[in-house]
Subunit: 408 residues, 2 copies
């Protein structure tokens, strides 16, 4: 058996960033761009807002006309009419005012808005009981964005807020990185298709391909299911050579399991370039993971155990996806704070990911570690997330406040 050198999780992430680059750009409709990553800086080609706007219901005035106004000594202004939403406001003469609704355009000549609560209408006069400063209660033209500003930087992922921002600028198409097409193979002589009604002794159904496909899809990728490869060097090699030219990323579920690890590594090395990049990760579960660059594309060899396979894909497969998608922001892993109810032992020198279930008692949240052999799928489905125990640590004691990394 070959011996492998093991990397830290951070080293693996850096290796991924060093070796893989984003896919090409494509122009798509703004409405279909949610979740995609912007491929070029997007510039504002007009001012936002395009006109001075009131941010309250009130009276547009010249601020100077209100100076000194107070509860006991209101400024009296002529009422000149009403600004309608969506219509060009008329001009304002000195000593007069226009009613303007929230969002309405400011009349030319006005430089502030008195809130309606601070006024009283008396016939054709409006009494203002509070003075306003120039610029008060309004947004200036271009205050949100000025023509030529970078609205959204290359490498940012488009969320609802970004879609709204681009729509407000009249941008209806965006240039984004193409989403990866990911091939998934399950490997193993014991694996049979999911629809197999009755299992022969020793057989298990191919559960990883479906679960991994869901992780790929959640991240925007499309999936090509390659089916099941027998534990055989020639079949592995042929399988990879068949699909790799047509996809952007290839995943071998079970490819790093004992017994086939050596020939998986051999195929990966032979299909360079660059060949093997990662031969093991100082992590539990999922240590034997293999990662290679074959003909320029990422090929990930996952352990066959469901828990290990999903843990590794969530941590590193998703990192490969982001790299192909051109995402250059930081991911802030979603966590919740909870109190640990039981001790978790850990081995020094490796990062442990311990599955936990969250339970609420009143306002307090508790994390219940799920100890189970990594083959047990039920322990995965029971888990709300994982607690990370860093390598320099012998474990966490019950009662400790921990951050639970949520599973999506």
């Amino acid at each position: 058996m070959r011996l492998y050198s093991v990397m830290t999780p951070r080293e693996v992430q850096n290796t991924i960033k060093a070796h893989f680059t984003p896919l090409e750009l494509e122009l798509i409709e703004l409405g279909a761009s949610g979740g995609r990553v912007v491929g070029k800086n997007i510039l504002a080609f007009e001012d936002v807002p395009g006109f001075d706007r009131s941010i309250v219901d009130g009276y547009a005035v010249r601020a100077a006309d209100t100076f000194g106004a107070a509860e006991t000594l209101p400024a009296m202004l002529d009422f000149s009419g009403e600004v309608k939403m969506g219509e060009k406001a008329p001009s304002l003469a000195g000593g007069s005012c226009f009613y303007v609704p929230t969002g309405g355009m400011l009349p030319q000549g006005a430089d502030a808005v008195v809130m309606i609560e601070d006024t009283e209408m008396m016939g054709d006069l409006v009494n203002c009981f509070r003075q306003v400063a120039p610029g008060q209660n309004l947004i200036r033209r271009g205050e949100d964005l000025t023509q030529g500003d970078v609205v959204i930087e290359k490498g940012r992922r488009l969320r609802a807020a970004e879609l709204g921002l681009l729509a407000s600028l009249g941008i209806t198409e965006v240039s984004v990185y193409r989403n990866p097409l990911v091939a998934i193979y399950s490997t193993g002589d014991e694996i049979v298709p999911v629809h197999t009604a009755n299992l022969a002794p020793g057989q298990i159904r191919d559960s990883n391909a479906l679960a991994l496909a869901e992780l790929v899809r959640r991240q925007g990728g499309k999936v090509v299911q390659g089916g099941i490869l027998r534990d055989d060097y020639a079949e592995f090699r042929q399988g990879i050579e068949d699909l790799l030219p047509n996809v952007d990323f290839l995943v071998l579920s079970g490819g790093s399991s004992v017994g086939k690890r050596d020939f998986t590594a051999k195929v990966m090395q032979e299909l360079g370039e660059t060949g093997l990049l990662v031969e093991g990760i100082a992590i539990q579960p999922g240590k034997p993971t293999l990662l290679a660059k074959c003909k320029g594309k990422p090929v990930l060899g996952l352990p066959g155990h469901p828990v290990s396979a999903l843990n590794i894909f969530s941590l590193f497969g998703s990192c490969i996806m982001e790299q192909l998608q051109g995402f250059s922001g930081e991911n802030f892993p979603a966590t919740v704070k909870a109190k640990l109810v039981r001790n978790i032992p850990s081995r020094q020198g490796r990062t442990d990911y311990v599955r936990v279930k969250l339970k609420r008692t009143g306002e307090e949240l508790f994390a219940v570690p799920i100890f189970g052999r990594s083959g047990l799928l039920r322990t995965l489905a029971d888990a709300d997330g994982v607690v990370l125990i860093p390598p320099g640590n012998e474990g966490f004691l019950a009662g400790r406040d921990v951050e639970v990394i949520l599973w999506d």
Copy 2:
């Protein structure tokens, strides 16, 4: 102007749960069920695993044959051959052993596995240097799931792990709640379509419809874009009556803004049953929100300001979606811990949601409050999430550790 009574966020959530029920069930392919909510308890119709399996590479033995074995006094067992993955294991005679790989089936007669690290092969004999207890290093048939067990409860959302679990059981179709079809109207005389190239004075483009649609889609819903309604009682009423029969949930962006709030409320009341449920929420931004049940379906009237509209939809629109989707689990809001860099003032008696940007300095994460008028879309796109300031609080001081609720 009518006066409205204001509810707390919790009261609004309870109102939603009390008034709306899940949509009907549909049977779909397992592979397409990610993110959907299970409509019936799913039972295991076989044992998982279906056979006793080794969880290590090693030798399947009768545990009793190894009792007393130690480094200095190995138990010597006859080597009977190898168990192949995916094949039925032969029977084991006393005093002998079979090699079995991880995941391989245990031979009949064996009740434990000695790890390969604790053995040495000598010709036809295997020396075991460590004793094992019955059950050691194996998973028993049915240990993960026993026939008849509830695998996944009604009301749970299907993630990758659940898909894997169901696939391992040979379940290829699942009964899930139908996903909601959501109609979105933008309202306002000042609103023009996104593709409008040149804005006339006073006009703004319809940015909310696209942003809200993205939030609906992220949660699995489908969107019907209703277009733009003028600020007119009859047009509002006709618009709602046109689309409501064909959708499960109707959203009026801008429907609760000043000036149209009264007739939005009137239409909602007239189109009962049940009519108006919520007339305002003690929350900032988004206080004037209206919620009604019209002809049995939820109708949500949002403020027109983009920040308010997205905040309210994220908090309460998503709650309505979950109710229609039949989700009965708890949502643990995804947060990250960060140190506040500036004071945030707040008003007692209402819940403030303050947008923040996250910045990393070394290992530490800082939350930078984004103070901006709620009309400014850029402040939304800049934000990584929000800090919640509870009603009984006058604000947070700089330096405090806060939980930032991440925006998806």
